[in-house]
């Protein structure tokens, strides 16, 4: 039995119960209101009142669940992450700034932006920052009943920024889907047929593509893509490598109706170790090509 999660699980159960009860009351209220709409007005009013009460209970349940998620991240995940990867810091409430996200050069400006679960620090001498990001586009629909505004998410996933260990001219983007947003990029064909099939490579300087994408690195990108489901995009700009994984997932989130146990925490740890995996697989910790200045 995972005693350390006992308190969280009992709080979670209470929140879930509120959501279920509230949901049932809401459903009952809606049914009453519908019946009342056909037969008698008083029943409809009662139905609406019941539905509103049910909805309030649901919201209370969700509120309690949100607070539990926050506490879980603060009390359990923060400690676990800092132990698993010394030298990093975790802030569940903060995220990457919009500027960092758009520096990737292949993610268009969002109408609604949300970012959380900030991770930053140094792993094996390589500085990085990352967070969960959600980008949404505003849509307006004109109907005969009026105008409807809604948002469609076009990116839900993780974005990483790593310190890159090679100095190069121009920029390079390796994308599974889409194309660069800025001008001056041209498509390059690498020697690997498999790599060209899976990724589209764009660069402002041909030589930069061949300098960064050595056969080893192309193989490594292939392996990383296999290990990380979703659409992956790598952008090499200045001193940094930006990685975006559009996997339609909100990482490090406790789920409703799933017990908090070691297996769930292990999954979070696995998601955390993706950072280390990128650093090791892409050999970002190799200090062969850049004379590092002393960090003070």
């Amino acid at each position: 039995m995972d005693d350390k999660y006992l308190n969280f699980n009992s709080q979670k159960k209470q929140a879930e119960t509120k959501i279920i009860i509230g949901g049932s009351i809401t459903a009952l209220g809606i049914i009453l209101a519908l019946i009342g709409n056909v037969n008698q007005n008083s029943l409809m009013v009662i139905g609406i009142i019941v539905a509103v009460c049910g909805f309030i209970v649901v919201m209370i349940g969700y509120g309690a669940f949100a607070s539990l998620k926050r506490n879980f991240k603060e009390q359990i995940l923060r400690k676990m992450f800092e132990q698993a990867m010394p030298g990093i810091s975790y802030d569940p409430t903060r995220g990457l700034s919009e500027g960092v996200v758009y520096e990737t050069g292949h993610l268009k400006r969002a109408d609604r932006y949300h970012s959380e679960d900030f991770l930053g620090g140094e792993v094996d001498g390589v500085e990085f920052i990352s967070s969960d990001v959600k980008l949404e586009e505003r849509h307006v629909e004109h109907t005969k009943n009026g105008t409807r505004v809604y948002y469609v998410a076009y990116f839900i996933g993780r974005i990483f920024r790593f310190e890159f260990n090679k100095e190069f001219v121009g920029s390079l983007q390796v994308l599974e889907a889409g194309s660069p947003l800025h001008r001056g990029f041209k498509k390059v064909q690498m020697e690997s047929v498999d790599f060209n099939k899976k990724f589209r490579t764009f660069t402002t300087e041909d030589i930069t593509a061949f300098y960064i994408l050595t056969p080893d690195i192309m193989e490594a990108i292939h392996n990383l893509e296999r290990r990380n489901p979703g659409r992956i995009g790598l952008s090499f700009q200045g001193d940094h490598l930006y990685v975006s994984i559009n996997n339609n997932r909100d990482t490090f989130e406790v789920q409703l109706f799933r017990k908090i146990d070691d297996s769930m925490v292990e999954e979070f740890k696995k998601d955390l170790l993706v950072i280390k995996d990128f650093i090791m697989t892409l050999k970002l910790n190799t200090n062969l090509f850049k004379i590092k200045e002393d960090k003070k």
Binding site: M190, F210, L288
Partner: protein
């Protein structure tokens, strides 16, 4: 209202002219493509020259630093390189390949010297040069791969029908690849 009536002969003539024009435009298109690719190959070859020169300069500096520790070995290594003053203008691709392999021999020779004189590892200038040399090696490999990728593109067109007809007409032959002699690099031995 003006009506145009064309005879059969005129229609045939128009079709023939149209076909000839299509062929001419296609010919010009392929020819331009080949010329542009040829330019890219030349550009990539000059990229190899730049990378080779940079590597040569770095290795020369490294040899100078090594001299303080191992004079005899450094002088022996210096003799491995054919062109002491860099790449001559008339050098062919084959010559450059040879130069490339000679530079690799020197780099490997320096590694042997480092093993023999561990004090060198404490020399910060030497260590920085070692990083720079590793970097020039990466640049050189990139330049070589870019050149070969461009050669593959142009050669594919040259050997593919019907573009091969255009290539033949403008006397364009298959371009040679820049090949590193991997086996030779591995088997290199130094006896100082």
């Amino acid at each position: 209202m003006i009506t145009l009536s064309l005879g059969t002969g005129a229609i045939i003539a128009i079709v023939i002219v149209a076909l000839v024009l299509i062929v001419v435009f296609w010919f010009i298109g392929v020819m331009n493509q080949l010329r542009q690719l040829e330019l890219k190959v030349q550009e990539a070859e000059s990229g190899i020259d730049v990378a080779l020169t940079k590597r040569f300069d770095m290795l020369t500096k490294m040899l100078q630093t090594t001299k303080g520790y191992a004079k005899h070995e450094s002088e022996t290594l210096e003799k491995v390189v054919k062109w002491r003053a860099g790449i001559p203008k008339e050098a062919t691709l084959k010559d450059k390949e040879e130069f490339f392999n000679q530079l690799n021999q020197v780099a490997q020779g320096i590694n042997v010297v480092v093993e023999k004189y561990p004090d060198l590892k404490a020399n910060t200038v030497f260590m920085e040069l070692q990083t720079a040399v590793a970097n020039t090696e990466e640049h050189l490999q990139a330049a070589r791969r870019l050149y070969n990728a461009n050669v593959t593109r142009i050669n594919t067109i040259i050997v593919t029908f019907p573009q091969s007809i255009v290539a033949k007409q403008i006397h364009m032959d298959k371009k040679p690849y820049f090949e590193a002699e991997e086996a030779k690099r591995e088997d290199v031995k130094f006896e100082f």
